[in-house]
Amino acid sequence: MAPYPCACDHLGVSSQQLVEEENATPEVFADRRLRRSGSHKIAGGVAGGLAEHLNVPVIWVRAGFTLLTAIGFIGPLAYVLLWMFAAQAPPEEQTSQMDAKERQQGIALLALGVGLFIVITTLSGSLASWFIVPTTVGIGGAALVWREADEAQRRKWRDGARTGVTGFFGEGSAKARLRLIVGVLLVCGGVGLFLFQQVSPALVPPVLIAILATLVGVGVITVPWWLRLVRDLDDERRARIRDQEREEIAAHLHDSVLQTLALIQKQAENPREVVKLARGQERQLRTWLYGPTGYGRGRAAAAEANEAAETPVSGGTLHEAIAVACGEIEDSFDVSVEQVVVGDCPMDVRLTALVQAAREAIVNSAKHSGVGEVSVYAEIEPDTVTVFVRDRGKGFDPDQVPDDRHGLADSIRGRMDRHGGKVRLRTSPGEGTEVQLEMPRKKEAKA
């Protein structure tokens, strides 16, 4: 006669259980869903998955299916249903491989089940052959189709591609497609056989028409639903892509601009350092936005550029090489280098020499011109590449350069001469300096 304590007690226990269950959720429930096994499989991996799910040996499950098959063909039915509704376990969960013995055992059990079923039905006469043959044919076909679907899913996992239905039908090999077609034919054949045996031949056309009409009707009725499904999927995908982009941009800004701004705040009393940081950051961001592999160039261009980068022959392009050289000099000599490049081409040995010579010329300008700006203009023509390095600084008299200065003679002139290039120098005191570098291009690069 004391309901309250009892209720309290009961309540207490249950809530405690609840808490326990909640705590246990991550470990226990994450793996509780039935998944078809990819490794322990003969047809669909249902038995293997079920065995893992129930934590019993596979052989018991297979024996169970065999027994169910013997009793009125329930086993295959259950098997097919489980196949349809249980998801395939992803490849990373598949640990052990099935050995030949296990496979033989499974196939033997399958044969035993079918044999038992035939014997029992024949002896009892409970089911006529009209039922068995079409059903077997139909189930066999269904098995083929579903197996192909599994394969397609596995391929999707392997390639990591989001191909969907098109991948399902379009990607497989000719053999896989053949299997799929055979499967579909078998299913149709099974259904057809069943129909023909059940219905008198005269009734077949009207029945077929009725079935067709029903299918079309269902299709028409559900069109809005299908459309909505497709649209929802589309919206969802678009939203996800947008989110990813946003995250990518946020991550990039965090890694680059914010860090630099923080550094600039700290260095505020050191204007040279601030200018250097800002310049480096600007260049980096510019490359990210507009560069050949940059974010703003669109996915296709980026993919194309990635492909180009992967081919071992082209080790970058002239445009990139010049940009890199200018950037390095900007950072180390505290000048701003304005570069204009017309055209582009892949790098080779000569062009590497050209870029090195140009780099030396820019360094000279940065060191000796006394101004903070250097212009670099490169023009890539079908047979020559020309680079102009120019400053508006002090300039000098070429005849007055002491013999012990090697920069121009060795690093620029020597380098260009060795590779068949030409150097011209235009300078005079007070007029600034311009170094013109000309390098012929390899002929085969033209074709």
Partner: protein
């Protein structure tokens, strides 16, 4: 440096269009130092504001940002130019994308300068476009050269009579791209500064006229943008 007749001139009335208020404030402050040359009469931070502001103020020169939401500088040009042919536009951009810049040039801007330009140069450029000349930065000269140059693998030119630059124009553009000032180009080629300006203006006109084939798409084909 200023000659007597230059001192007589009224300051050029400038309207600023840029979606960054901070940048507008910076340009305004920088141009204030050249008060006798240029006077900022108004500013706008969006395409709509810009259209209304330009209609209202009727400036001599609009300093136009290339990259803005709602269509950018090209959209402002499209909406303002037909009704106000007297207003001159000068693109002022931080963008490295040839497509953006060339779209604005083709929309009718009279020149293009980068945002790193010094205030003195900017004032001079404003003055120059106000007087009817074109202003090219080395970078724009590079873009145009690239779009007009004939290189293997490039798309063939659809309209040869219209679009090829004359050798002289090409030469001028090359020198521009190499960082030469108009005066330096003139002495280099033994022509007058006025002739240089004529060449540059005709390049600009060709660029603007070349909408019979898609210059910007062409630039894209060449992986310029």
């Amino acid at each position: 440096m200023t000659t007597p007749e230059q001192e007589d001139r009224k300051p050029v009335r400038v309207f600023l269009v840029d979606d960054h208020a901070l940048f507008r404030a910076g340009v305004r402050a920088e141009l204030a130092a050249h008060g006798e040359d240029v006077e900022v009469v108004g500013e706008a931070g969006s395409v709509g504001e810009a259209v209304a502001g330009i209609e209202h103020h009727r400036p001599d020169v609009v300093l136009l940002d290339v990259h803005m939401p709602d269509g950018g500088g090209a959209e402002v040009l499209r909406r303002v130019r037909p009704a106000n042919p007297a207003v001159v536009f000068l693109a002022l951009s931080v963008s490295d994308a040839a497509e953006d810049v060339i779209a604005v040039i083709r929309g009718g801007a009279r020149g293009y300068v980068t945002k790193t330009i010094s205030s003195q140069e900017l004032a001079k450029s404003v003055r120059r476009v106000a007087e009817g000349d074109a202003v090219f930065s080395p970078r724009l000269a590079g873009f145009v050269l690239d779009a007009f140059s004939e290189r293997p693998g490039a798309a063939p030119i659809a309209d040869p009579e219209l679009d090829l630059l004359t050798p002289r124009e090409r030469e001028v553009l090359r020198l521009l791209a190499r960082g030469y000032a108009y005066k330096e180009i003139a002495s280099e080629l033994f022509i007058s500064v006025k002739t240089v300006e004529t060449h540059v203006s005709s390049v600009l006109r060709k660029t603007q006229l070349s909408n019979r084939y898609e210059l910007s798409r062409w630039a894209t084909d060449r992986r310029l943008v």
